[in-house]
């Protein structure tokens, strides 16, 4: 059986946070159809049909005393006792949930027991709702949708304006995602092309972005690559979540690389990344803390109308 992704090593933090943050009361149906202890099973069967539900809690005053499910109704029809009172045949050993419990409890209950729904009680043991796996799916989908929209906005924030009226764009880069590796740089290149920047400059900027993007994919736990376009320069910024560089000086030495054979077989890991970024940049800086992460910032000047400060390519 598939292990559900909560509290396991490969759980997404966002998902775990979500199923703990969401309470059962956020997902349950509140408007519960109930029956009294003396109502006949026939009455309950009609109620199920009218309200399209497959389980009716039975109450005595405010207290929940049992539940009649579709299975119970089928048995009653089969055994010819459909006119009997609910209290004579209902399921009494109910497993219930509390409205303040995290949604993760409900999910694990559905995993553990084979019931289609669980009645939900409040602190005073009063019936306040009922929850089915469908309710969980619906509430999770709604919340995940919100969450993903938020992450999408945050990750690929589109073009934002800086104070000086120019543009910033940020791309998220995942660890060892070779399928997408280079995509952000391709986007950056397109963007610069659309801005009408000189093709030789575009190539320098694209090379810097691509080397930094590959570094993020190959050497880090993932991070972000962003471009800021100002009137007189372009800045490329690669920030990662670790593991950090032990010896920053050594990492900038041509030919030094910590890449493994597999990465080399893809045509990378020759120890030319950072030196190459430096080569095409006008300014270059690197900060790193082992165990935390690194930030590489490089700047490429844009020629001004009255000056020619464009650095040659070699």
């Amino acid at each position: 059986m598939t292990t559900l992704p909560f509290d396991t090593l490969d759980s997404s933090l966002t998902l775990v946070e979500l199923i703990y943050r969401l309470k059962i009361k956020d997902a349950m149906v509140r408007n519960v159809h109930t029956a009294g202890r003396t109502d006949s099973l026939r009455t309950i069967q009609k109620l199920m049909k009218e309200s399209s539900v497959t389980g009716i809690p039975v109450k005595d005053g405010k207290r929940l005393i049992g539940l009649v499910s579709v299975d119970d109704i089928m048995s009653a029809l089969d055994g010819n006792y459909i006119e009997d009172k609910a209290e004579d045949h209902m399921s009494r050993n109910l497993i219930v949930l509390e409205d303040d419990m995290p949604l993760s409890f409900a999910i694990s209950y559905f995993e553990k027991y084979r019931y289609g729904r669980f009645p939900v009680l409040n602190k005073d043991k009063e019936l306040v709702g009922i929850i089915s796996s469908r309710d969980i799916i619906v509430s999770l989908l709604l919340e995940i949708n919100k969450e993903v929209e938020r992450l999408e906005r945050e990750n690929d924030s589109g073009s934002q304006q800086t104070e000086s009226g120019h543009m910033v764009r940020r791309f998220m880069v995942k660890q060892l995602d070779f399928e997408k590796a280079g995509k952000a740089s391709t986007e950056i290149k397109k963007l610069l092309k659309a801005k009408g920047i000189d093709t030789r400059l575009i190539r320098r900027i694209a090379v810097a972005a691509y080397e930094l993007e590959m570094n993020l994919v190959v050497h880090t736990h993932g991070g972000s690559l962003s471009i800021t376009l100002e009137p007189d320069h372009v800045e490329i910024r690669a920030q990662d979540r670790g593991p950090g560089i032990e010896d920053v000086e050594l990492a900038q030495t041509e030919g030094y690389s910590t890449a493994n054979e597999w990465i080399r077989s893809l045509g990378f890991g020759a120890g030319m990344g950072l030196p190459n970024v430096k080569r095409v940049s006008d300014q270059f800086s690197i900060q790193s803390k082992p165990g935390e992460g690194s930030l590489v910032v490089c700047t490429i000047n844009l020629p001004q109308e009255d000056s020619h400060d464009d650095k040659p390519d070699d």
């Binding site: 070779f178 590796a181 280079g182 093709t199 691509y210 080397e211 893809l266 045509g267 020759a270």
Partner: protein
Amino acid sequence: MTYQHIIESLDCSIFHEGDEFAESEIRDVVTSDLMSDVLLADTEDFILVTSLSSDQVIRTADIVSARGVLLVNGKKPQAGMLKLAKDHGLTLLGTSSRTFPACVALARLLEQC
């Protein structure tokens, strides 16, 4: 030289005809299986000759504005590589020649055409 010259000389398979396939004038050749080295190349209007058939070859070729890619040693592009070549409008050729004879033939073509 043009793609037509290359295709005739090296008996190439055409995996994809890029955007400027017919009119491209190729003036230089960069040969490497190390994409890091390709990123260092400082030249224009060139074709990239490699025996590496991964997606990153096309990404790299696009970044350095290569005109196209020639796979040597009879290498066939991986599915992702071919798709990317199409997406980027890059010409992708293949030949069964080894790297050295392929480069020799290309050098002769550059002299002649």
